[in-house]
Symmetry: C2
């Protein structure tokens, strides 16, 4: 499930608040994004075709709901990035995260803590 940039914006809005009508999606878009109403409709239609969202008629109006979870979409996008820009392996990415500066020292520490935590506290439920 590959989403384009514009589609991500729509999906982000939908994940944040749903079900939602096209009008509501429009309002949910980040400030600064001023698409015509029909642009949103077009996007939503395409997303429906892609089966990324569902459409249900409420009388004359369509109400949309995400069909793919944010989690799934993120996983997929993440995978794509790794495949395409990091030799498809986590190794280079891990290295990148540690060495380059996408993370502030603080965030690195935080991530380290979370990971530590996660791998330490092993053997519980779910």
């Amino acid at each position: 499930m590959k989403l384009t940039k514009a589609e991500w914006q729509i999906m982000n809005a939908l994940w944040e608040k749903h079900p939602a009508t096209a009008r509501q999606v429009m309002e949910q878009l980040p400030a600064g994004v001023h698409w015509a109403y029909t642009t949103i409709k077009t996007m939503l239609t395409r997303l429906v075709e892609k089966e990324a969202v569902s459409e249900a008629k409420q009388g004359n109006t369509s109400v949309y709901d995400p069909l793919v979870s944010q989690r799934k979409a993120r996983l997929s996008a993440f995978r794509s990035l790794v495949d395409q820009a990091f030799d498809g392996a986590m190794g280079p990415l891990v290295h990148f995260l540690a060495e380059e500066e996408p993370l502030t020292p603080k965030q690195k520490k935080e991530l380290a803590a979370l990971l530590q935590d996660e791998t330490t506290r092993k053997g519980e439920s779910k």
Copy 2:
């Protein structure tokens, strides 16, 4: 500097071995990718226009070199992903890496170690 999927493949080949002629780039492509020679040329031309690679004539033949570093391209791609799929913040990404399963436990431990290391060993040269 936004690279498309196909462009990444070309750049990956170039970063691996450069300078290189179109023919050499072709050979450097991952097994399974069988583009026509002219396809590669087209890509290279577009990359030159984008100023992502340089082109120098050696007699009748062009030799290409990356103009943008892999590091920079990675940073940019990474940033895009975060902006578009993770609310533009590292927080959600960090959470994602810790909670979801893009990383094997082993890799998590590894990353944790690297980060720990990096943040601990603070205050050295370079």
